[in-house]
């Protein structure tokens, strides 16, 4: 038995003659992991969720659940449950009846229902709230009722559609921990949709970054943060400095008028590329010691660090995250390690990209 629970094969979703919402998307979802679909609004992430839940049908392509084709199975017969963005709790039912809704449809015995609902509510720390009306619950509590209502049915997969977006920052951070913890305790698959990259990085085992109906990149949070495949991913996940450059030869790249040692190889000589350097990988130093010479333009205090915006002679902006303070107007140097340079090829497919990165690992192994 494979570990795959959901598989999309070449799925396209298109309304009328508009450009497709999902464009030939294929992926596999494994049992028991926390997945995040991440992307800007309109990228197709919610459509994937609705396709899995069965609220909408694919125009082209097949969806498999546990190896069985699911395209024609109606939503109410699928082994998945959803936590909706606005929670969609039934306002005419109290907390107990909301959670019991799915069990009552299955016509379970009253005693069984009671026991399961109690368990689910205890699981989300809401024991004792059974008889409350939904309108008497706070945002965070409603969120938990919605989760309890989903898990009480013991589905194989739980779909979460931006469930934290309506909460304030502090509660949202708390719920991130709780959701992650919940998923570990339940051991079932969570598919979480969000446009918040921090949320995605913090919670997921695996992230799918989507844009314009296509999966741009998939991988662990660390993979995606450290090795973005293209400008979109680099820009969307975290802060980035992105400049155009040229690969002179293996391990040597040219950008903003200088040549720098890097760890990338296997590209064509003189190939045009894009360079990403994360703001926290830039180090402030003196003009003489720096690899780049820049002028400090503005500075914001962000609590953990200063966010310093600098410009080089060609008016490229360089964002620096530093615990050291700089003075606005000063000319300073920026230093970075060869490993800090991440080289992106134009129009590289995810498969090619993965192959290239794998080759580096082998290369490293040879040198050591």
């Amino acid at each position: 038995m494979t570990n795959t629970i959901i598989e999309f094969k070449n799925v396209t979703k298109q309304y009328d003659n508009d450009s497709p919402v999902l464009d030939h998307v294929s992926f596999e979802i494994e049992r028991g992991k926390f997945y995040t679909l991440l992307g800007p609004s309109g990228c197709g992430k919610t459509t994937i969720l609705r396709l899995i839940a069965g609220f909408t049908e694919a125009s082209v392509g097949d969806i498999y659940f546990d190896g069985k084709k699911m395209n024609d199975v109606p939503a109410n017969k699928r082994q998945v449950n959803t936590v909706f963005q606005d929670y969609a709790l039934f306002p005419h039912l109290n907390v107990f009846e909301n959670v019991a809704f799915g069990l009552r449809i299955k016509k379970l015995k009253e005693s069984v229902i009671k026991q399961k609902v109690q368990e689910a509510l205890t699981f989300v720390n809401l024991a004792g709230y059974e008889n409350r009306e939904i309108r008497e619950m706070s945002g965070g509590q409603r969120q938990r009722v919605a989760i309890a209502r989903a898990i009480v049915n013991e589905p194989e997969v739980i779909l979460l559609d931006e469930p934290l977006s309506a909460l304030d920052l502090k509660l949202r951070t708390e719920m991130q921990y709780e959701l992650r913890e919940l998923q570990r305790r339940l051991g079932i698959t969570f598919i979480f949709v969000t446009h918040d990259q921090e949320e995605a990085l913090a919670m997921s085992d695996e992230i799918f970054v989507l844009n314009r109906g296509k999966i741009q990149q998939s991988g662990t949070p660390i993979d995606i943060y450290d090795e973005p495949i293209n400008r979109f991913v680099a820009d969307f996940i975290g802060e980035s400095n992105i400049v155009e450059g040229r690969m002179i030869e293996d391990y040597l790249v040219e950008f903003v008028g200088g040549r720098f040692e890097c760890v990338d190889q296997g590209l064509n000589p003189n190939e045009a590329v894009e360079i990403v350097i994360r703001p926290e990988d830039l180090e402030i130093t003196t003009k003489e010691r720096g690899k780049l010479k820049v002028k400090v333009d503005s500075q914001l205090f962000r609590g953990v660090h200063y966010e310093i915006s600098c410009y080089d002679e060609d008016q490229n902006e360089w964002l620096v995250h530093s615990t050291k303070k700089a003075n606005v107007g000063d000319e300073i140097g920026l230093y970075f390690d060869p490993e800090a340079i991440h080289v992106m090829r134009f129009g590289e497919s995810e498969a090619d990209f993965d192959r290239r990165l794998e080759a580096y690992d082998h290369g490293d192994a040879h040198e050591q």
């Binding site: 909706f84 039934f90 306002p91 449809i105």
Partner: protein, 267 residues
């Protein structure tokens, strides 16, 4: 201080209206109900009301109002539901409401034309081979025309409550395993019950005292409390008895309002 004066000034027309056209008439009705036909103070009217003739009339008023309400609801709910699914729902709604802007009498006369011996309905029945029927002056025509007249008032509140229903709630019900019918029974209907109640109120209460249609369409075969009031005031000149029936109608209406009164649940 000044604010208070202007506010009271604004209230004046409203208060005047309430006093002149709501409170005063009710007091007058109550007052007249305590006088017999010769103008002597007595409780005879109240005694008379509890005789079989009037109880029968009350019962038949209720029965017809009930039938009209149920029929209207049966037609209006699916219609309102379909309306919320259409593309130009406001336009369709307008088309349904338009007939309610036309005077009731005009519509009643139109139905006399349609249901009469020489009318369109009988012409049709003859053409399909059933032959001429007595349609006018039957219970059927009375209920049919009443339902026709009240339907827009039933559709409107139900449409509004269906329209306000959050569509994700249906996804949620579906997601939790509910079939279409279960979703309707467990989610849609309970959440639109306020609209249904409001619709039933605006249909049932006026139906209790219908009298124009009882004469024009039902040919006085159907006698309701409304007919009785009209007869007492205009024909028998027994204002006291007419007022007494009105008092009971008012009591019944208040009772119905209280029973079907909706408790608003906010989310």
């Amino acid at each position: 201080m000044n604010n208070k004066v202007t506010r009271n000034l604004y209230l004046l027309p409203y208060v005047l209206w309430i006093v002149l056209f709501v409170i005063a008439p009710i007091i007058l009705v109550l007052y007249y109900s305590f006088f017999d036909v010769d103008g002597n103070f007595s409780f005879i009217n109240y005694k008379t009301f509890f005789t079989p003739v009037y109880l029968q009339m009350t019962f038949s008023s209720f029965w017809y109002a009930f039938l009209i309400t149920v029929m209207s609801l049966l037609v209006a709910y699916p219609t309102a539901y379909l309306l919320t699914k259409t593309k130009h729902k406001q336009l369709w709604l307008l088309l349904i409401i338009v007939p309610s802007w036309i005077n009731l009498l005009l519509k009643a006369y139109a139905f006399i034309g349609i249901f009469g011996q020489q009318g369109f309905a009988n012409a049709f029945l003859e053409a399909v081979g059933i032959g001429k029927q007595e349609i006018l002056f039957t219970d059927f025509s009375f209920i049919f025309v009443s339902v026709y007249i009240f339907i827009p008032f039933m559709i409107l509140p139900i449409f509004n409550s269906l329209n306000e229903l959050n569509p994700t709630l249906l996804d949620a019900a579906n997601d939790l395993g509910a079939s279409k019918w279960t979703s309707f029974r467990r989610v849609i209907f309970p959440l639109t019950i306020d609209g249904v109640k409001a619709g039933c109120q605006v249909v049932f209460i006026p139906s209790l005292s219908l009298f124009m249609l009882t004469r024009l369409i039902a040919g006085n075969r159907v006698i309701t409390l409304g007919t009785a009031i009209e007869q007492h005031f205009l024909v028998t000149r027994d204002w006291g008895m007419g007022a007494t029936i009105a008092v009971f109608l008012i009591i019944i209406m208040v009772l119905i309002m209280t029973i079907t009164g909706s408790r608003k649940k906010g989310v």
